[in-house]
Amino acid sequence: MGSGEDSDGKRSLPEHLERMRSRVEVGSKVPSNSEGVYYSGAYSSMGVDNSLSVSDLEKRLKVKILEKEKDRIVFELIGIDAPIANTIRRILLSEVPTMAIEKVSFFANSSVIHEEILAHRLGLIPLDVDPNLFDYMEEGAEPSEVNALKFRLKVQCTKVAAVPAEAKPSLKYHNSDVFSSMLEWEPIGEQAEVFGSKPPKPVNDDILIAKLRPGQEIDLEVLAVKGISKDHAKWSPVATAFYRMLPQVELLKSIEGADAIELKDMCPSNCFDIEESGKAVAVRPGQCTMCRECIRHGDWEEKIRLSRVRDHFIFSIESTGAIAPEDLFMRALQVLVDKCGNVVERLTESLDVSSAQARASTNKEHLSHLTRMSTGR
């Protein structure tokens, strides 16, 4: 059970341990090895170093873009472990800032929707504006050109003359539907020059905010501010951000003839093909959803081995539209770097304080003398 040496002279783990380290096994009833081994000295008895250094990672890490659309990106992240991938995912969901409507002043609302519901609906509308151009609005601060955006929504529903009664409401009435496109931007200060040709507006023009009937009106003013989704989900920059680990489908025995056809038909994700020789092959393991249908019946579990690669992530980011998805990933990493810098700063501060306290306590005798002298007691 000795460990071997790989090509660059580094010691490597025996096969079964390497398998345990790098795979999550998916059995028909339970997954196993689901928890990674992260302790740096875990394999020290075998002379294998399990520590992580940034320079090692630089050599090992691979990123490959699989799909890229306007609001969506899918890429592979290979060579990092789940805690890091998960931290990035969590930051994407809740700590990358965006702009969202926060305050609504109603001047008139005779629609059937209550003010608080309407305000909530407005809050959830994604706004197409770069939050990096803004500061956070401090508690109690006045809205200004650097921390807020103002929009006005003023609609009245009226009858259109000479339309038959059985026609659709959208033909019979003006403004029977209130859409996000009706929010009108009102620049504060010099915002008109700053934004120039790209005025802030909702990402989607066709979000239905309310429905009106003749005689009803909505007149309101809103303030959009910068925030993060830890405070409220309306500030989340993503529709969703998730990853899955790369699925692996291995055929342990040769599967031929009727078995091969059974296997191909069994898989709902169409992972298998049958070669000309009649042998089944797992040609599209990436499509496997780990439904485990292929190992559930009879003795199939002895023929097929399902697993996931522990350090290979297929990461998907879907943006709400305000920030491009590839930008979102970069911003999430920047947030992580900033958080780290912030923690290090706080650590140094508190270490300075505690060492000063330690010094102070050794000088206590002197100090108490001095205070006694200066207060005359």
Binding site: L52, E58, I88, E95
Partner: protein, 109 residues
Amino acid sequence: MANSGGEDLCLEVAGDDPSCATIVLRGEDHTMGNAVRYMLARRPGVEFAGYSIPHPSEDRLNIRVQTIAGGESAAEAFGGSVKDLAGVADVIAKSFLGALEEFSTSMKQ
């Protein structure tokens, strides 16, 4: 809102053994907790690393670090790991930008 001020990090060291410490962070949650714990666990010289959020309604993240006696102190290991975490983010950012470039050239062809 985004970051809270005040006394937001403190170091609890029981006795005078610098190789064991509990770092108490405020304004952070599992996002930092788990990542830092992971970086600590994979740092040579760290014997134990763990984190907990004792109660969800209390803004408190405990990170426990124990290092091998005679080596790096727990506070140093913690600081080093947090810096390494920023380094990891940097490496990922670099690879990601490279991959984006590669993708756009391959799309042009």
